[in-house]
Subunit: 229 residues, 2 copies
DNA sequence: CTACCGTTTAAACAGCTGTTTGAATCGCGT
DNA sequence: ACGCGATTCAAACAGCTGTTTAAACGGTAG
């Protein structure tokens, strides 16, 4: 067995175990047993448990991005079709149909309970994604929408998607199995989120309400600044 | 000190600690130290660590429901104003403005990593809330929308709200502090979620697209059933 | 063959965990 | 004041944790 083999084996089995049981409940003995290596191997290759965990989280992110890359668009792809592709990609990353979907579970754990990899994860993995999303939203809104409004809408899209992955248990307890199988798979959910978002944006454009709201916010802020001065 | 005192003290300090550090990382020694009681008190009053945890989770739910009860409506309150009140209540429960907001953090932990209290929590705490929400959505949609569609929209509302509480770290890393202070407090977020949802529902009503989609889904299903027969 | 270095191994380590114990203490009705 | 049950306490328990150690192993260059 070469150096690469043992290291890779550990990294491979560590991900799903950490995802299932969490950092604290996972013992390096269990990981090493699953990988077929000695307990000391983790400290030999990774230094300590925490650094193995961080490596496992980053590995999970790499696997997801490799398996579900951002869609490629031509110049002629309309903005709402781009939005649709983006939402489908994001939801597929969250709920891989066939696989045990452990990767995103592990990443969500790290986000909720940061331990060193969180900042890098968000800044390198999530930020580019979010920037593309907000650009699309801006294109689908009338001119005059403010940045905070666009950010809020961006998180509305992300929030809808993440919910199904992070809190699947709630859906399972609330929705009958037949309905779940038919309407709560990755593709159905992505289509729903896309239509829901597109509809809200269309209504914003039609009524220009978002621009009026942006102007009102601006006026409020100016008033507040005067008050302070 | 009477029986009620020690028990209550433990329960009171256990909630925030469990919320911050999680079940595994929290030691009963730390809880007892904070409560000013002996280590054996937990086992004496609660049996073991897990039953204390479950009690703490239920206690958190009670506190939230007591502090932010469902809004009272008169017969004349229009459906969209009811929706607004419901969203504001839910977001306030998620992000208590002044307090350390530990209650919902603890509950979200239990949902993500169920340990005995999760089922009861969802069925008794969340289900009634969700039912009110879906009834309102139905009233705000044209006749003919299917149950699965209404459920999906319901989770879209919940998902938007929960995201800010469960993944606040992401928002913190993505949004500048000045913008956060101004546009990402509980009330601003609740207003945004309400407007976003109302807009989507209005567009659904205006175009009748949701009814057409429901009919199409129905046709698909009939076709599939014939295929099986 | 030999010497060497990266790797693997079993064993031991110190520290912390939840839980139990049995005695000490307290509060209160008699 | 007494006695009794409920409560509190310090101490100990057994078990598991991450980590370290020093010896053994294995392939490979000289």
């Amino acid at each position: 067995m070469t150096r690469a083999d043992s290291r890779a084996h550990i990294l491979q089995v560590a991900g799903p175990i950490f995802a299932k049981d969490g950092y604290q409940s996972t013992t390096i003995r269990r990981i090493c047993e699953a990988a077929g290596v000695n307990v000391a191997a983790v400290n030999y290759y990774f230094g300590d448990k925490e650094r193995l965990y961080i490596e496992a989280v980053k590995h999970a992110r790499d696997l997801l991005e490799e398996r579900w890359p951002l869609p490629k668009w031509t110049e002629s792809t309309p903005a709402d079709e781009r939005l649709r592709g983006l939402i489908h990609t994001f939801i597929r990353r969250l709920i891989s149909p066939a696989q045990g979907e452990w990767q995103m579970k592990l990443i969500l754990r790290e986000i909720i309970e940061p331990s060193g990899a969180a900042r890098e994860l968000v800044q390198e993995g999530f930020a580019p994604f979010f920037n593309v999303l907000t650009e699309l939203i801006q294109q689908l809104l009338p001119c005059g929408a403010s940045d905070p409004q666009i950010h809020q809408i961006g998180f509305s899209v992300i929030g809808q998607c993440v919910f199904y992955a992070a809190h699947q248990q709630v859906v399972d307890l609330m929705i009958e199995e037949v309905e779940r199988a038919e309407h709560f798979d990755a593709d159905s959910l992505a289509e729903h989120v896309w239509r829901f978002t597109k509809s809200a944006l269309a209504e914003y454009s039609r009524t220009d309400s978002i621009v009026n709201r942006a102007k009102a916010d601006n006026a409020d802020q100016l008033l507040k600044q005067e008050h302070q001065a």
